[in-house]
């Protein structure tokens, strides 16, 4: 009897959670999916127009720039964060003195927002004030580093700033993994006279496969939603050269008043995410089954 009353209370407590999941998450996602098939412009509109928004979207060169940028940005960002994160974790693991200090120095950008990250890097990457000018002041008058304002290279500078923010976290994941590995490996390695770097590269890091996959997933997730850092650093410019889907969607929703097309773009973001996550889940499940 008492247990029954408690079960009722337990179910009642979940009501806000049910509202959140059913209404604010899946209901909203479904509504946006629906809007992507409607003639919505400034306000949501319920006139269905089939795949029209998707057709317009896929014919928009600007969308393709944004979509391609997501992969350029994503590929480089994930690769750089993982490589530098793992490298820094190994370096910190080797450190005997000052580990806490260096760890804090590498990790603190993570606590800063991506707006702060973008605005902070604006200075050093801006040709008239930043690195280009510093090197020129040192006497190398011909030195050029104007990627931030270049149509072809601005997106790479976004990577540069985002990596600054994201590497520390990946480093911490790897460091926790390295520290959790049995210390006896080192004794055996010493007996076999295996050089330190080989122990890390061939014995320790391969054992951190799960952490690697977690890191890639989390970073990939960051890539799809990346919006702030682009707005703060380049605002999608010059022109729309460094635009990304998240920003494109926002602009079509609120400044260009083309909600239908924005919703279609948002749906493509979701489909892309699923396409990336599914193989990962598939391999993970297959690996665990046998």
């Amino acid at each position: 009897m008492n247990i029954g009353a408690n079960q009722v209370k337990a179910s009642l407590v979940l009501i806000p959670c049910i509202v959140i999941v059913v209404y604010f998450i899946w209901g909203f996602a479904g509504y946006t999916a629906y809007l992507s098939f409607t003639k919505s412009t400034f306000l949501p509109n319920h006139q269905l127009i089939g795949w029209h928004n998707y057709e317009t979207l896929l014919q928009d060169p600007r969308w393709w720039v944004a979509y391609a940028n997501m992969f350029i940005f994503g590929g480089l960002y994930v690769a750089a964060c993982v490589i530098f994160g793992a490298l820094l974790a190994v370096l910190l693991d080797l450190t005997t003195k000052g580990e806490t200090l260096f760890r804090t120095l590498y990790l603190y950008p993570m606590s800063l927002s991506l707006i702060v990250t973008g605005l902070a890097w604006q200075w050093l990457l801006n040709p008239t004030s930043g690195i280009q000018q510093i090197v020129r002041d040192m006497g190398f008058e011909e030195f050029n580093f104007n990627w931030l304002v270049s149509v072809d290279y601005a997106i790479y500078m976004v990577v540069f700033a985002a990596v600054w923010n994201g590497t520390g976290f990946i480093m911490i994941l790897f460091l926790a993994g390295i520290k959790s590995i049995d210390k006896e490996i080192w004794q055996s390695a010493r007996i076999d006279r295996i050089p330190t770097w080989r122990v890390y590269f061939y014995i320790i890091l391969p054992q951190l496969r799960t952490i690697l996959l977690t890191a890639i997933m989390l970073l990939g997730f960051q890539v799809v939603r990346s919006f702030d850092v682009v707005v703060a650093l380049t605002n999608g410019g010059p022109g729309y050269a460094s635009d990304v889907p998240a920003r494109y969607v926002f602009e079509y929703f609120f400044t260009r008043s083309k909600i239908g097309q924005g919703a279609a773009a948002a749906m493509i973001m979701v489909v892309t995410m699923i396409a990336i996550i599914l193989p990962y889940l598939y391999f993970e499940i297959r690996r665990k089954e046998p």
């Binding site: 408690n6 530098f84 606590s111 998240a246």
Partner: protein
Amino acid sequence: MSWKFNHKTALLYTALMVFALYFLAPIYVMLVASFKSLEEVHQSSVIALPEIWTFEPWVKAWSGACSGLNCEGIKPFFIATFEIAIPAVILAVLLGAFNGYVMAKWRSKFADILFATMLIGSFVPLQLFLIPLAVTLRELDIYGTSIGLILIHTVYGVPLTTMLFRNYYTTLPNELMRAAVMDGAGFFKIFFHIIVPLSPAITIVAIILVFSGVYNDYLFALTFGESGKRPIMSAVQNIVASAYGIKEYNVNNAVVIISALPTLLLFLITGKFFVRGLTQGAVKG
């Protein structure tokens, strides 16, 4: 042998220093610029220390910098952000703790399904929520208000807190629950007298994560912020990108640094929890 050791150590620390430089450089550049007069900012190199140190940019950043035509500094936005963040943190942590408790200790098939759908849902890009949120907030007549943002941050903070609390509560022994039920303790009594006293660490982790998320948020702030009281990141971006008048780079840098301080200090003071929260959240994500 000893030379080799020193050689390697030197290499290691050189590498560590080079990386430290990369991580410190942008903050250093902002800091020195924020202590220079505008004239000196234009004339000197971005890496040079100020010749004459001045605190004026900081004072102006706090109480006189212009966001559009409104020149009250970032103080009002700073306060507005805390007015949003504190209730949102309390609500999201409280709801998350309750959810976690039910999902871990009063398990039912339904609760498991709810948790799974919530977890998958937390991967949906936030852009998908913007238009339905705008519609909902208009219906509730809280569009562009702090209440609206509190609601948003609570709603989208709950999946994270639920996950943290659920995963932690699953590690608590079930005997604890059984004994309490035997003694006739009810649902809420068990929660407040047994579960809550066992969870100070995870609560701190949850508070830190939700607070940083709300404070550092830009997307919702930009979309749903009240113009005079917009949340900090949206205000900062607006001040720095503002096209009106002369660009006061020294003041802008002070603005950015001040806006970064709360989460930075939180990280430096509670570093251990910060890291633990993120690694815990990550491993489960």
